[in-house]
Amino acid sequence: MPETHAHGVGRQRAVWSLRRLCQLAVLAVLVFVPWLSRNPHAWAPSRIALGQMPQPTLVPVSGDTWAFELFDFRLVHPLAFVENWLAAKTLYLPMLSAALLPLAMTMLLGRVFCSWLCPVGLFLEWNERLGQWLARRTGWQGRRLASTLPDMRYAFLALCLALAFFFAMPVVSLFDPPHALGRELMYGFTHGEVSRLGVGLLIGIVLLDLVLVRRAWCRLFCPSGGALGLLGRWRVWRIAMTAERCTHCQACDAACPYALMPMSLLDDGRRFDWTTCDNCGRCRDVCPTGALGYRFGGQR
């Protein structure tokens, strides 16, 4: 919440630590759930000592960001539901109900999955630090192709959905990065081996980020992020600008990982790309006067 100084001078309390906590929690779930399900001794030593079969019900959490389960309460990525619907040509109601909560979250809060939950996004943020460090140490400035590359997310999304429909087979599920990470962890803990192509995909995304442009995969290619962005286009919770506090320092423009120019919110916000903004709050954190902040409803 913006502080109520007379002239709004001073930063707000940063939101990034809370966001990082959420990301780390998701990463911890991705790592510890398969680990626990393979090492039930760590979970319930007494039942193992009785000589009973380790039952997976002992670990009530399973799945990853694509499909998740906690005590029979299920969550499914909205795009996974849509792909299943298009490929199978039937509406599976339990899956729809599992997709409703993420759907509602995206429509109310925007594309927060990408900034607050996605573990690959966390790696890309750390990778950004690595890029800065590299630039400082070696003077190497990668990312020269930033302005020349078109945004292919929606074309990719349409292509994947068309393929899913005509080939009767989900497509985004094969390479969605957070799911690829979760799957490699799952498979690694279960069978002690990882797929070279899967790990290569993840490393490739990180390298792409280092070479092409900041958050290259997220802003140029990611179909699931694009789908969430479209769903969150008319979100309720959004970044808003208090014009009288803005000092035109342009710190927010430099901080935005998608180069969305939050300064353009000084106008009525029509030119701001609400589909791409994922409510990460980095512009809000760097704003020295507290002009940028989260709002429910309000101007757009």
Binding site: M53, Q55, S62, G63, M186, L197
Partner: protein, 248 residues
């Protein structure tokens, strides 16, 4: 120029990588899916991996991206780990369920796998479309039929006396006679335990199977019914006594 060549190489790799997942796989070849797989399994499955996570015996494996259209779909390789049908043998020699339902079907969020109650009677009556496969016995190679010296498959079958019987139904019971394994094709759901314990199969497996996993995973359709069809293993390799093949 060199840089250009490098860049072209990188581009080529990238493009081939991008299209690797798009390559159509050979869908006509049967793959042993987890129990409860529907006919439209490939369309419904969202490749989430929860069936593998739910499996208490680590029987379920996944293809990786190099499998093209089959990538990340679950399969069971009975030679490495058969499906135990979520049952565990107690010290008294009787199988007890470790879960009230088959875990993989219960974990599936999409309806690609259906939930099957884990009772012997129910499992023996599972319809054709939910079966993993059906096991096929070659009496000419079977040690029990030829030498009266085996019976491992019979003793290890989770659906003993239903899917695998100690003699064919038309054979009279003779006092003192050994096991003559007989597969009831209606009751067998194809878990692969007989395949896993068959000594003839294991002998071949040790010599051959690590180099040609496809022999097990992608057998020709209906190969089980045509004796002496060896597939890609080449001549000179003897057929396994028991293997599991998928009917559809």
């Amino acid at each position: 120029m060199e840089l250009r060549g490098n860049r072209r190489q990188v581009l080529r790799w990238g493009v081939s990588f991008a299209f690797a997942a798009m390559l159509p796989a050979d869908f006509s070849r049967p793959v042993l899916r987890p129990p409860g797989a529907r006919q439209d399994f490939l369309a419904r499955c969202i490749r989430c991996g929860k069936c593998m996570e739910a499996c208490p015996f680590d029987s379920i494996r996944f293809f990786d991206l190099s499998a093209g259209g089959l990538a990340h779909t679950p399969y069971i390789d009975p030679l490495r780990t058969p499906c135990y049908l979520c049952q565990k043998r107690g010290s008294d020699g009787r199988d007890r369920p470790v879960a009230p339902f088959l875990r993989c079907g219960n974990a599936c969020p999409t309806g690609a796998l259906v939930t099957i109650a884990n009772e012997k009677k129910v499992l023996a009556r599972v319809g054709w479309e939910y079966k993993i496969g059906v096991s096929v016995l070659d009496r000419r190679l079977c040690l029990a039929w030829q030498y009266d010296s085996c019976g491992e498959c019979y003793y290890n079958c989770p659906l003993r006396d239903q899917a695998l019987r100690d003699r064919p139904p038309d054979m009279p019971a003779v006092q003192g006679s050994g096991i003559r394994p007989y597969v009831d094709r209606e009751a067998c759901i194809g878990c692969g335990m007989c395949n896993f314990v068959c000594p003839v199969r294991k002998h071949i497996a040790r010599a051959k199977i690590r180099r040609d996993v496809k022999l097990t995973l992608f057998e020709e359709r209906y190969a089980g019914m045509v004796r002496n069809v060896i597939g890609r293993a080449g001549p000179g390799v003897r057929l396994p006594a028991i293997r599991v093949t998928r009917e559809w």
